[in-house]
Symmetry: C2
Subunit: 163 residues, 2 copies
DNA sequence: ACATTAAAGTTGACGGGTCAACCAATACAG
DNA sequence: CTGTATTGGTTGACCCGTCAACTTTAATGT
C-alpha cells in the first residue's frame, strides 16, 4: 500500500489550503448529517415519527415477526437504542410483542394495524426519496459510490492503517 | 469476529424484503460511524484526545490565531459544541485565549506549547490515515466519490424530492 | 444620543448513539 | 443434576450534535 509522491503532494496542498474541508471523513460526516436532517424532516412531516423509530418499524415490517436481537444484528443497531425506542413505539401502539413459548427470553415483535398502516404509508415516501437521491447520479457513478463505500468500510475496520 | 460488509450484503434477501440494507443513506451512515470509531481509536491511542477536540486543535493550529466564530463557520461546527469542548481544552492547557482589543466580544484563540506539540504529533498520523483511506481506492474512484458526495449534499438540501 | 438590531459566546435541554453493568432465562460441561 | 458460561434484553452513564434562550458587546438608524 505505497503512495506515489504525486498523491502525497496533492494531499499536502489540499490540506494547507483548506483544513478539514477536503478530508474524506469530514465530508462524509457532513453529507451524512445533512441527509439525516432531511430524512427527519420528511418523516416528521409525513408521520410524526423519528428516523430511528422509522428504521425499527421498517425492520419489523420487512423482516416479518422476529425478535429484537435478530433485527439489531441485521441492521447493526445498538440493542440499548433499539430497546428504548421500541418501548416508545409500543406505547404509541405501533408494535406489539408476544413471548416466545420455547425461549422465554425472547419477545416476538409485530406491527399493529396502526404500525402496518404507518409502514405502508411511509415506505413509498422513503423509497421515493432514495430514488430521488440516486437520480442525482448516473448509474455508473452509483456503482462506483457503492464500491467506494465498501472499500472505505473495510478500511475503517483495519486496526493498523500503515501508520 | 464481525462479518465483512460483503458477507453482510450477501446475507441480504430480496431487494425489497430488506429495505434498510440497500438504502444509500443507511450505508453512508454505517460507513461514517465506522470511520468515526476508527478515528477515535487512533486519537485516543496517540494523544488521549477526542475527535471533536482534535478537530478544534487542528482548526486553531492550521488557521492561525482567530476567534471561535470564524472557525465554527469554516468547519460548519456547532458553536455550542465548540464552546464546551474549547473549555475543556483550555482546562487541559492546550489552548489559550486573549481578548480582542477592538471587539470585546471576541476571544482570539491560540495553541499553547503543549497544544502545538500535540498538533505536530497528531497531524501526520491523521494525514497518514487519510492517505491510507484514499489509497484503498483508485484515483478515478476517489473523483467519483467526491462528485457523488457533492451531488448528495445538494440533494440533501432540497425540500421537495419529487415526493 | 438613544433605541433597536445584530453578532459572539455561553448555557440548558433534548435526542441520537456507544458502552458497560445488570437481570432473567437458557445452554452447556463435568 | 448442578454450577458456569452464554444469550436476550433493560437500564444507566456518558459524549456527540442540534436547537434555542440568554448575556454581553458592537453596529445601525433615526
Amino acid at each position: 500500500m505505497t503512495k506515489s509522491p504525486i498523491q502525497q503532494a496533492e494531499d499536502a496542498d489540499a490540506f494547507f489550503a483548506q483544513p478539514l474541508h477536503q478530508f474524506l471523513t469530514y465530508r462524509l460526516s457532513r453529507v451524512q448529517a445533512k441527509l439525516n436532517t432531511q430524512a427527519q424532516r420528511i418523516l416528521s412531516a409525513a408521520a410524526d415519527i423519528s428516523l430511528i423509530q422509522w428504521r425499527i418499524i421498517a425492520l419489523i415490517g420487512s423482516c416479518g415477526d422476529t425478535h429484537a436481537g435478530e433485527l439489531t444484528r441485521r441492521a447493526a443497531l445498538d440493542k440499548g437504542l433499539f430497546s428504548r425506542n421500541l418501548k416508545t413505539l409500543m406505547k404509541r401502539g405501533m408494535v406489539t410483542s408476544r413471548e416466545d413459548k420455547a425461549d422465554h427470553r425472547i419477545a416476538i415483535l409485530s406491527l399493529t394495524a396502526d404500525g402496518q398502516a404507518l409502514y405502508q404509508k411511509v415506505l413509498p415516501i422513503m423509497r421515493a426519496r432514495q430514488r430521488a437521491l440516486r437520480s442525482a447520479m448516473t448509474k455508473s457513478e452509483l456503482d462506483v459510490l457503492h464500491r467506494a463505500l465498501d472499500k472505505l468500510e473495510i478500511a475503517a475496520e483495519k486496526d493498523d492503517l500503515d501508520l
